[in-house]
Amino acid sequence: MEHNQHKHYTQEINITPQLMERINELISHYPEGKQKSALLPVLHEVQDAHDNWLSIELQNKVAEILSIKPIEVYEVVTFYTMFNQRPIGKYMFEFCQTSPCCQRGVEDLMDYTCEKLGVKVGQPTPDMMFEVRGVECLGACGYAPMMQLGDFFQEHLTKEKIDQLIDDCKAGKITLHDK
């Protein structure tokens, strides 16, 4: 458990009309009265639109939109690893560190990336541009070593590819979300 999880972070909430339209579309996928089922997809959409993390205030807002209790949102946000409860690096390099990726050298590659960015795992760069994380199996074992960056996978990684990705992120050439 990260100790800074208890620190209270705030963010500006902005549910745009487009976002609301998408939320309503997601709710329409479920029968009347079962709108709670849309919680996970809605949280993804809301998180994507808010620098990839969910403050308590934002979670309360989601509860209000779905007409459920805030605790029902907190329960879900704390259970699933993809929901972030604190501000995170804009470009989060999430390396798969499960067995098949380890057989293909992901641990050395993570060390290399951390060293290059001057960070430790789970610690964003001071400018909040980058963060490195180790995650569990991403289901791309045959294309190892690999990582997730935004909505996409970066596979068959090498040190040279990491260098290139960091440069591309800095140059704003990397698309994070598939909208």
Binding site: H29, P31, K34, K36, S37, A38, L39, L40, P41, L43, H44, L66, I68, E72, E75, V76, F79, Y80, T81, M82, F83, Q97, T98, S99, P100, C102, Q103, R104, E107, D108, V135, E136, C137, L138, G139, A140, C141, G142, Y143, A144, Q148, D151, F152, D178
Partner: protein, 455 residues
């Protein structure tokens, strides 16, 4: 060349789009089923095919379908399990990413068989771009009249939606998946009642894997008997194998069940042999949960028979000398792999993924991880191997869902087959401080150090 049922069209340019998929004969099984077969006839055809659940458990699909409660009159649902997260497994993504309409076609025919009018595909959160691919494909199918009201004028209505998860392996367990689909934490339910009676929103529900549902169109277009003619004994049809680790050609392969493990490993059509021609050390044949096999039990069973890629042959010898076909997550290890480190890696995975409902799993997986970590880091104690054995034996069978078993089996198998490697770590702590210890000096070279000491 083995026969291809699922992947025969995957390399057709543009097959991802509706137009090309349709031109190649796509959706013909929907026409055939809805216009000329009753739902029960579709179920019978799938029963005849002998198709077994491709997610890992291998339960016959047709039989699972026949359990669905039709008497209550409650709405029924088909839910496709696309929460592929078993380490070593990446086959479902391959299907959904490159030929998404095959799954949708299978969803329509299968939903028709079950009498379901509202079905879902639950996909893991990390496959976000595949989720979008499926959403687009569903919209295309709907625009072409394969979904919606009164499909093909037959009076059958069906809506299919994709639901995205949030990053939790446990949601691959069917009742946890249903909880998650209801917008809750992925805590598995106590069974009974089974989902076939009380599933999604307490309605009768069938949960099937992507690969199982994708096999249905071929079965309907041809016949259950044709499908059953492929394969060997009770392992009928074809299976996707996701091959990874130290092999020349990692990737997803469709095999006819019954192929020998030797051929799959070494033929150029499949894995192409070992990555750098180093010796084969171990194999996890069916995803991280199944027992690991040492080199001498991979190509031959304990009886000396050829080991085949079938449910039966891979489990030949039980857990003492066999393993399981599982999800088809085929992970190959060469002599540089450290079995202790690998077992620790798997235990960390299960600890991380335990939902926390059952004490033996919540606590036990953490203890396994901790003890394995200290052995791997040269801080192991003489009694640790017995301790690991004791912990795993107390998790197995004592939890609501099979995650507890899945966490126990890899540890038990590693100790059973590679005990000397654990002893080496405990007795020569200085030699294992560097995490790549066997990369520079494979265990084979230092094995002689672990001999029973004379008293």
């Amino acid at each position: 060349m083995g026969r291809k049922i699922l992947l025969d069209k995957i390399n057709v340019p543009g097959i991802k789009t509706y137009e090309v998929y349709r031109r190649e004969g796509g959706y013909s099984s929907v026409e055939k089923a809805l216009k000329s077969l009753s739902p029960d006839e579709v179920v019978e055809e799938v029963k005849t095919s002998g198709l077994r659940g491709r997610g890992g458990a291998g339960f016959p699909v047709g039989m699972k379908w026949s359990f669905i409660d039709k008497k209550s009159g409650n709405p029924r649902h088909l839910v496709c399990n696309a929460d592929e997260s078993e380490p070593g497994t990446f086959k479902d993504r391959y299907l959904m990413e490159y030929i998404p309409h095959l799954l949708i076609e299978g969803m329509i025919v299968s939903s028709y068989a079950l009498g379901a009018n509202l079905s879902y595909i639950y996909i893991r959160g990390e496959y976000m771009w595949v989720y979008k691919t499926l959403e687009r494909a569903i919209a295309e199918a709907k625009a072409a009249g394969w979904l919606g009201k009164n499909i093909l004028g037959t009076g059958y209505d069906l809506e299919v939606h994709v639901q995205i998860g949030g990053g939790a392996y446990i949601c691959g367990e069917e009742t946890a998946l249903i909880e998650s689909l209801e917008g809750k934490r992925g805590n598995p339910r106590l069974k009974p009642p089974f989902p076939a009676v009380k599933g999604l929103w307490q309605n009768p529900t069938v949960v099937n894997n992507v690969e199982s549902i994708s096999a249905v169109p071929w079965i309907i277009n041809n016949s259950g008997a044709d499908y059953a003619a492929i394969g060997k004994e009770r392992s009928t049809g074809t299976k996707l194998i996701s091959a990874s680790g130290n092999i020349k050609k990692p990737g997803v392969y469709e095999i006819e069940l019954g192929l020998s493990v030797y051929e799959f490993m070494n033929s150029d059509e499949y894995c192409g042999g070992m990555e750098t021609d180093r010796p084969l050390k171990a194999l996890v044949p069916g995803g991280s949960s199944v027992p690991i096999l040492p080199a001498h039990l991979i190509y031959k069973t304990a009886n000396g028979d050829d080991r085949l890629m079938t449910y039966e042959s891979l489990s030949d010898g039980g857990f003492a000398t066999g393993s399981m076909l599982g999800s088809g997550g085929f992970i190959v290890y060469d002599d540089r792999a450290c079995i202790v480190r690998n077992t620790w890696n798997f235990s960390r995975f299960y600890h991380h993924e335990s939902c926390g409902q059952c004490t033996p799993c919540r606590e036990g997986t953490g203890w396994l991880e901790k003890v394995l970590w200290r052995i791997e880091n040269g801080e192991g104690r003489e009694e640790d191997i017995e301790l690991l054995w004791s912990i795993q034996s107390k998790i197995e069978g004592n939890t609501i869902c099979p995650l507890g078993d899945a966490a126990s089996w890899p540890v038990a198998a590693a100790i059973r087959h590679f005990r000397d490697e654990f002893e080496y770590h405990i007795r020569f702590p200085e030699k294992v401080k560097n995490r790549n210890h066997f990369v520079t000096e494979p265990f084979e070279k230092v094995k002689h150090l672990v001999v029973k000491q004379e008293i």
